[in-house]
C-alpha cells in the first residue's frame, strides 16, 4: 500500500490531502474540503495531469501574431515535453477566434490545443 501526500491545486486554498492506495486502486482520501478536491486527489494519485499552455505563431494577412494556446483538457505530466516540441513546430494561417482548435489530438493525448484569445482583440 502506498501513501501519497498531495497539495490540492484546484483552488487557492491549497488543502493538504492524503491518499492511500495501490496502482489504480484508491482506498482512502483524507484532508480535502470539497468534492472537487477529492476528484483531483484521486486523479493525481493515479496519473498527474495538467493543463498545458504556450503560444503558437499565427500568420494572417501579412500580420504575425503570437497566439496564446491551451490544452482543452489536462495532459499527463510526462507528455508535456513532447507536446511542447509539437507546439514549437506549429505554424498556423488565417483568422483565429477564441477556442478554435489549432493542434488537434496533440501527441495522441486526446487533448486539443485551442486558441485562448481572439485575433479581433489583439
Amino acid at each position: 500500500m502506498q501513501e501519497k501526500r498531495i497539495t490540492c491545486i484546484v483552488c487557492p486554498r491549497g488543502c493538504e490531502i492524503t491518499v492511500i492506495g495501490e496502482g489504480k486502486e484508491i482506498h482512502s482520501i483524507q484532508g480535502q474540503q470539497c468534492r472537487r478536491g477529492e476528484d483531483y486527489a484521486g486523479e493525481e494519485f493515479i496519473c498527474p495531469s495538467r493543463i498545458l499552455t504556450s503560444t503558437v505563431l499565427v500568420h494572417n494577412e501579412g500580420r504575425k501574431i503570437l497566439m496564446p494556446v491551451r490544452s482543452n483538457r489536462p495532459i499527463p505530466r510526462e507528455q508535456m515535453r513532447p507536446c511542447m516540441e509539437e507546439i514549437k513546430k506549429a505554424q498556423v494561417q488565417g483568422e483565429i477566434h477564441r477556442y478554435d482548435v489549432l493542434i488537434p489530438n496533440i501527441c495522441q493525448t486526446g487533448a486539443d490545443m485551442i486558441a485562448a484569445a481572439d485575433m479581433d482583440w489583439m
Binding site: 491545486i9 498545458l52 482583440w121
Partner: protein, 446 residues
C-alpha cells in the same frame, strides 16, 4: 463580434475641427484609466448601473492589461468557477464591456488628472494632446514590478537581469527567450510561473531563492510550477552578489538568519546567464498623486471606502492600483463595486468623497497579525448593505480565528485552517451591525 472591433476603433476625441485645441472636450459619465481586468469590470458594471457614456482609456494597443501576457491557467476559479488562462479571462470581460457599449480609447496615455474640474489630460500619437471631461473617474492603472534598484543587490551591472514580468512579456508576447540557464530571486507567483514557462521552453532553472522562511506566492503555484519540474526552492536564502561583466555569469547565494542577514560559510555559486527578479509589485500611483488622493503607506495605493471612493470626490480606484491582488477574480469583484458606485456618483446618487465626511467614517484598524485592510474606511451609515473587507496577514499561521470587532464587540468571525501573507482573506460584515465607531480585525489562535 463585429461590434467589438467597431467600438475599439471609434475615434473618441473631437477631431472634426482638425485643430489641436485642447479646450474642446468630450464629456463622459464615467472614465476608467486602464483597460486591465479592473477597468473592464468597472466599465461593464457602470453601464449596468445605468451610466450614460462610459470610456476606458489605455496606453496599450489592446485591452486586457497584464493578463495579455499571463497565458497560464489559474484565472476565474472563484468568479466563473472554472479555470481559465489570462487572455480568456480578459477576453470575457472585454466582450462584456463592449456588449454594454462601453467605448475604448487605446494607445492613449493619461498624463494628469484635475480633481477639481474632473478633467483628464491625455496624449496619443494619433490625436495628440486632448482633454476629457468626466463626471466620475475610476483609477485602474494596475501596478509595476520592483526592480534591482529597489532591493540593492551588490556586484556588477551586467545584462541578463530582468524582472519576471518583463521576461514574461518577452516570451509570451514577443517570442524572445531571455536566456538558457536562470536563477530566480523571489518566490512570488510571477517568478514561479516563469520558472515553469522557461523550463517548458527548454531553459534550465537552477533555483528559486526566497529570503523569507515562507513562500511569497500561492501554494498551488509551488506545486505545479516548481515541484512538478523538480526546481529547488531555497527558503531563507538570498542572492548576495552578481558576477559577470557584459552578461551575467552567475550569482552567489547565501542562507540568511532570522534578521535576514547572510550567514557566512553558507555561500554557494550558481552559474547562470539570466537572473529573474520576482520581488514584489508596487501600485502605479504617479497619476493618483496628480489628483491629490490620499495614499496608504502600507499598500502604496489610494485610501478607499467600501464604494472604492478615494479621498478626492468623484474619483474611485480599484484593482492593483489600490493594493496588489494575487487573484484577478478579486480584482473583478472589487472593480464592479467601484464601477457601480462611480455610476451612482455620476447620477448624483452617492455621497461625496472620504475627506468631506470625516465625521461619518469608520476607520478599519489592523489588529493582531493583520498587515493591512482594504477598504481602509467604511462610509457610515452603510444602511443595511453588507460590507466585504479584504486583508492580508503579516505572517503565516495555522488553526486561527479571524475576528472583526466594532467598538470591542464581535460582529463577524470565521475559522481558518491556514493563513498566509501571500493569500488575501476576506470577511463579510453584516450591514445591520455596522454603526459609528471603530472597526478592528485580528487573527487569533484557536
Amino acid at each position: 463580434m463585429e461590434g467589438i472591433a467597431a467600438y475599439m476603433e471609434r475615434p473618441v476625441s473631437n477631431t472634426e475641427s482638425g485643430t489641436e485645441e485642447t479646450e474642446q472636450k468630450e464629456v463622459y459619465d464615467v472614465v476608467m484609466i486602464g483597460a486591465g481586468p479592473a477597468g473592464l469590470a468597472a466599465a461593464a458594471a457602470a453601464k449596468e448601473e445605468g451610466a450614460g457614456r462610459v470610456l476606458v482609456i489605455d496606453r496599450d494597443s489592446a485591452g486586457g492589461g497584464i493578463l495579455q501576457q499571463c497565458i497560464h491557467p489559474g484565472f476565474g476559479l472563484t468568479y466563473y468557477r472554472e479555470e481559465l488562462t489570462g487572455p480568456e479571462y480578459a477576453g470575457r470581460f472585454l466582450t462584456k464591456a463592449a456588449d454594454e457599449q462601453a467605448e475604448f480609447l487605446l494607445n492613449t496615455m493619461v498624463l494628469e488628472i484635475n480633481p477639481a474640474k474632473r478633467t483628464l489630460l491625455c496624449s496619443s500619437q494619433e490625436h495628440g494632446m486632448m482633454q476629457i471631461q468626466a463626471k466620475a473617474i475610476v483609477l485602474a492603472m494596475g501596478c509595476r514590478e520592483r526592480t534591482r534598484a529597489n532591493i540593492r543587490i551588490p556586484g556588477t551591472r551586467p545584462s541578463g537581469i530582468y524582472t519576471a514580468g518583463a521576461a514574461q512579456r518577452l516570451i509570451n508576447r514577443q517570442n524572445i527567450m531571455p536566456g538558457k540557464k536562470a536563477v530566480i530571486l523571489g518566490s512570488g507567483d510571477i517568478g514561479m510561473i516563469m520558472a515553469r514557462r522557461m523550463t517548458l521552453e527548454g531553459a534550465e532553472v537552477t533555483a528559486v531563492v526566497e529570503i523569507m522562511d515562507y513562500l511569497a506566492g500561492l501554494t498551488r503555484n509551488r506545486v505545479q510550477c516548481l515541484d512538478d519540474f523538480g526546481i529547488p526552492l531555497l527558503l531563507s536564502h538570498t542572492v548576495t552578489k552578481i558576477v559577470g561583466n557584459r552578461r551575467i555569469e552567475g550569482v552567489w547565494v547565501s542562507q540568511v538568519d532570522e534578521k535576514r542577514e547572510p550567514i557566512s560559510g553558507t555561500e554557494r555559486y550558481y552559474p547562470c546567464d539570466t537572473l529573474l527578479l520576482s520581488v514584489g509589485l508596487i501600485p502605479e500611483n504617479e497619476l493618483s498623486r496628480t489628483a491629490g488622493v490620499e495614499t496608504d503607506p502600507v499598500t502604496g495605493g489610494p485610501v478607499v471606502d467600501q464604494h472604492m471612493q478615494t479621498s478626492a470626490e468623484g474619483i474611485f480606484a480599484c484593482g492593483n492600483v489600490v493594493h496588489v491582488n494575487d487573484l484577478a477574480d478579486n480584482v473583478s469583484l472589487e472593480s464592479e463595486r467601484a464601477g457601480r458606485a462611480a455610476a451612482r456618483y455620476a447620477a448624483g446618487k452617492l455621497c461625496r468623497g472620504l475627506r468631506e465626511r470625516a465625521d461619518g467614517q469608520i476607520p478599519c484598524i489592523a489588529g493582531e497579525n493583520i498587515r493591512y485592510i482594504c477598504p481602509q474606511r467604511i462610509a457610515a451609515p452603510a444602511g443595511d448593505e453588507d460590507v466585504s473587507v479584504y486583508f492580508r496577514v503579516s505572517r503565516p499561521d495555522r488553526d486561527v480565528r479571524i475576528i472583526a470587532r466594532l467598538n470591542g464587540e464581535i460582529i463577524a468571525s470565521r475559522r481558518e485552517m491556514r493563513v498566509n501573507p501571500g493569500e488575501m482573506l476576506s470577511l463579510l460584515l453584516p450591514g445591520s451591525r455596522i454603526a459609528a465607531g471603530e472597526l478592528t480585525i485580528c487573527v487569533m489562535k484557536e
